[in-house]
Symmetry: C2
Subunit: 434 residues, 2 copies
C-alpha cells in the first residue's frame, strides 16, 4: 500500500524554513504583548460542543466546526476559536484571580471552510484579552497593543487602519432608527458584514429580500443605504449622536488621538461575526487594496464569563491570525532573512574511529556555545561540502585522523571559500564573533 504524501486538505505542513518564519512571527507577537504585561495561558484543543453553541454564532457551530462524538459518547469539537475556552478558564477561578487580568495565547484553531488565499482550515491565532476593566481604557489598550504588534514587524502607520464601531449603535440603527424586526435586524447585520464581499447589485437584491413591501414603499432601502454610507460620527442623525454608544465611540477616538494612535477610523458597517460582542468592536485592515481582508478583530464581550454561572466580568479581546499576517508581511516586504540556526557542520574524513573523534570535538564545541551538526553519512569530503552548502550553513570543520592527532582543525568559510587552521577554542571564538 502506498500512502499519500499530501497534508490534510486546507492544512499546512511547516518545513523548517516555514516554521522559522512562524517562530519569528510568534516571537515578535509575544515580545510585544509581554511589554503590556500580558501572560501566556493555554487550554485543551477539544471542548464540549455546548461551549460554542452558547455564543459563537450559528454558522460557525452548525457548518464550520470539526465536531464529533468521542469514545465515551461526549459531543465535542476541536476549537474553532479561543474566546469560549479562555472565558471558561477565567470563570473557573473568578474569585481567585486578580484584576485587571491580562492574558494571551497563540492556539491553533480549526474551521471547516473552503481553503483560499490566507484562509486555511487550520490556522494559528494570537488571542489577547483584558478582563476586569469597565472603561474604554481597555479598548484603547488593546488597540495600542494591536498597532504596536504591526509596528514591531516594521509596519508604518500608513500601512494599516483600525476601524471601530459599536454593537449598541448598530442595534439603535436597526431597531430604533430603521425600526426593523428582530429577524430583519439579524439578517441586516449579516448582510452589512458581507457588504464588501458582494457586488453592489447582489447586495441590493439581498436587502430587498429582507424588507416587507410596506417598508420598501416607505423608502426604507434608501434610508438604509444612506445611513450605512456615513463616514463620521458627527454626520449621524441627531437622534443617534447622543446615545451612550456614540458618546463612547467619540471618547475612544479622542483617547486614541491623545495617545498618538492616529490611524483609527469610525466604520458604521463594521459588525464582526461572533454573537458575544456587547459593545465596541474593532478590526485592523491593510491599507493596500490588494489585501482587503481584516487581519485582526476584536471587541468587548462583557457577558461571556457570566454564562458559566459566576459574576459577569467586563472583557475586551482581539484575535490576530497567522495566515493573514503572513500575507501582510510578504506584501509589504517586511519579512527578515532568517539565518540557519546551525553554526557549523563537522565533516569527518574517514571511518568510524574518525567519526567518534568528530563526535568528541562536537561535544567540546557545544560546551563552548556553538550549534554543531556532524555529517555521519560517510560520504566523500566533496559531497559533504555540497550538502553543507545546500543547508545554507556558513562553516564546515574538517576532521580527519591527522587533525585529531594535532587538535588543529581546518575551518572552511563556505561563503568565501577560505580556510584557516584552528584549535576548537579558536573555532568557537571565531564563530561567536562573526
Amino acid at each position: 500500500m502506498k500512502l499519500s504524501i499530501k497534508p490534510y486538505k486546507g492544512a499546512r505542513d511547516f518545513y523548517p524554513e516555514d516554521q522559522a518564519i512562524r517562530e519569528y512571527m510568534f516571537g515578535v507577537m509575544k515580545q510585544t504583548v509581554k511589554k503590556y504585561g500580558y501572560q501566556e495561558y493555554d487550554a485543551p484543543l477539544i471542548e464540549p460542543i455546548e461551549l460554542y453553541k452558547a455564543k459563537s454564532g450559528e454558522e460557525i457551530v452548525s457548518e464550520q466546526t470539526y465536531s464529533f462524538v468521542d469514545r465515551g459518547g461526549r459531543e465535542v469539537a476541536i476549537r474553532p476559536e479561543m474566546t469560549p475556552s479562555v472565558s471558561r478558564m477565567v470563570a473557573a477561578k473568578r474569585q481567585e484571580l486578580s484584576y485587571p487580568l491580562r492574558w494571551f495565547s497563540i492556539p491553533n484553531l480549526w474551521r471547516y471552510e473552503r481553503p483560499q488565499r490566507g484562509r486555511f482550515r487550520e490556522h494559528w491565532q494570537l488571542n489577547v484579552d483584558l478582563f476586569g476593566v469597565q472603561s474604554i481604557a481597555a479598548e484603547l489598550e488593546l488597540m495600542m497593543v494591536a498597532g504596536d504588534i504591526f509596528n514591531a514587524f516594521g509596519a508604518t502607520n500608513e500601512m494599516y487602519t483600525i476601524r471601530v464601531n459599536h454593537r449598541q449603535l448598530l442595534n439603535a440603527i436597526f431597531f430604533n432608527y430603521l425600526e426593523l424586526s428582530q429577524d430583519q435586524g439579524l439578517g441586516m447585520a449579516h448582510l452589512i458584514d458581507r457588504r464588501n464581499k458582494l457586488e453592489h447589485g447582489q447586495f441590493l437584491s439581498r436587502m430587498d429580500e429582507l424588507l416587507t413591501p410596506e417598508q420598501k414603499e416607505e423608502g426604507l432601502a434608501e434610508k438604509i443605504l444612506k445611513i450605512f454610507d456615513i463616514k463620521k460620527l458627527k454626520d449621524l442623525p441627531s437622534s443617534l449622536q447622543s446615545i451612550p454608544a456614540s458618546l463612547e465611540l467619540q471618547k475612544l477616538l479622542a483617547a486614541c488621538s491623545a495617545q498618538g494612535l492616529n490611524n483609527i477610523q469610525f466604520d458604521i458597517s463594521l459588525v464582526r461575526g461572533f454573537d458575544y460582542y456587547s459593545g465596541i468592536v474593532f478590526e485592523l485592515f491593510d491599507n493596500d487594496p490588494e489585501n482587503k481582508r481584516s487581519m485582526l478583530g476584536g471587541g468587548r464581550y462583557d457577558g461571556l464569563v457570566g454564562l458559566f454561572g459566576v459574576e459577569p466580568l467586563p472583557t475586551v479581546g482581539f484575535g490576530l491570525g497567522d495566515a493573514t499576517l503572513l500575507n501582510f508581511l510578504t506584501l509589504h516586504h517586511l519579512l527578515p532573512e532568517l539565518k540557519s540556526p546551525v553554526d557549523l557542520i563537522i565533516a569527518p574524513v574517514g571511518d568510524g574511529e574518525t567519526q567518534a573523534g568528530a563526535t568528541l570535538a562536537a561535544t567540546e564545541l557545544r560546551k563552548l556555545g556553538v550549534n554543531v551538526a556532524v555529517d555521519y553519512s560517510g560520504r566523500k569530503l566533496a559531497d559533504q561540502f555540497k550538502a553543507a552548502q545546500k543547508k545554507q550553513v556558513n562553516y564546515l570543520l574538517i576532521v580527519g585522523p591527522k587533525e585529531l592527532e594535532s587538535q588543529k582543525f581546518t575551518l572552511r568559510d563556505l561563503s568565501q571559500s577560505s580556510e584557516v587552521s584552528l584549535s576548537l577554542k579558536q573555532v568557537a571564538a571565531k564563530l561567536k564573533v562573526t
Copy 2:
C-alpha cells in the same frame, strides 16, 4: 443555561503559572536539540486515519485514536503520535532534502485512554529525528541528545538510565531460539512489554495461555523466563551472541562509553509499542523507584518513509512527553522558581485624565524596555497595592496629577516596602539593574 467550567476529561488547562513551567521546559528542550543542529518543523493536527493504520500498532488505532469522519466524508484522526506525519513530510521532499537531516517538533498529541498520574488524553511530546544515517552513529547521537536534555534540566547521571535493546535480537529470540509461531511471537512481545505492569503470577498465567501443551511439556516457559532474566549481552546463549543485532548492540554500548555516556544498560525485555521499529530501540527511565514509567523512548525505523512510495531512508528518532518529564523534574526538585514577566505595575491615582497620563508614562517605559501593566480599575490606591502583591510583581509606580506635573514618580518596592521618587528614565534604569 449554565456552562461547565471544567476542561475536557483528561486534558489540562494551563493557567499562566502552569504555562510558564511548560514554556521553561520547551525552552530547555529546544536549546539543547539546536546545539546538535536540529531544526523545528510542524505538521497538521489532523491526518487521514490510513497514516496510523499503516504502522502505529493495532491498540492505538482501534482503541485510542480520536478519529472521526469530516464534513467532506474523509476518515481522519487527531494525531496520536508525530512519527507518521514527519515521515510523510520527509517522503514528500525525499529528493530535495539534504541528508543527514535533523528535525524536531513539540506537537500536542491525543489518545483516548484512562487519565492517571503523568498520563493525559492530551499531552505534548518533543520529537527528535535523524534521517539518512545507516550506522549506529545515529543511535549514539540521539542517546546523547536525550541525556543532554535531562542534564540541561540539572539532572545528574545517577538520576536516570537509558535502556537499550534490538528488535532483531527479540525476533531471533522469539522465532529462532524459542521457535514460537508468528502469533505467539507478537503475543509474547506484547506480554514482555507489559511485564513490570503485571504481578508475577499474572505474567506467568498469561504466558501459559500463549503456549501449546507440547511447548509447555518441553519446558518452554522456563526457557522464556530464563532468557528474559539475562542482564548482559555476554550472558546470551552463544547462538544469539554472534548475530548482527547483538554485535550492533555491543558496538553501540562501546561507542556510548567512548563518548562518556555511561548510564546506558542493555535490557532484553525492552520492546516498545510501535510496529515500525526495525532495529535498536531505547528508553530512558527515572532511577527513582517512585517513578517507574519510561520518560523517553525511541529507536530505528528504517522502513517508514518508504511506505509513501519513495526510496526508503534510514531513520532514528525519539519522543519525550511533557507530563512524565514534569513528574521527573518535580520529584527531583529540579524546577526553578519562575519570576513574573511583569516588571512594574502603574497605579493611577485619579480619574480618566490621570489614567491617560499613566498610559503615556507606560508607553515611555515600554520604549525603555520595561514590561509595564497599568491598573485601569479605578480602585483606591491601597486596593491597587494589594492586587499588585497578589500578582507577585515587585514594583509599583504611583501616578497622580502631581506626579504627572513634575514628571517625578513614586516607585514602591513591594518586597521591601520602600519608596523612591524618580523620573521615568531613572525608573527604567533601576528596574534593569535589579
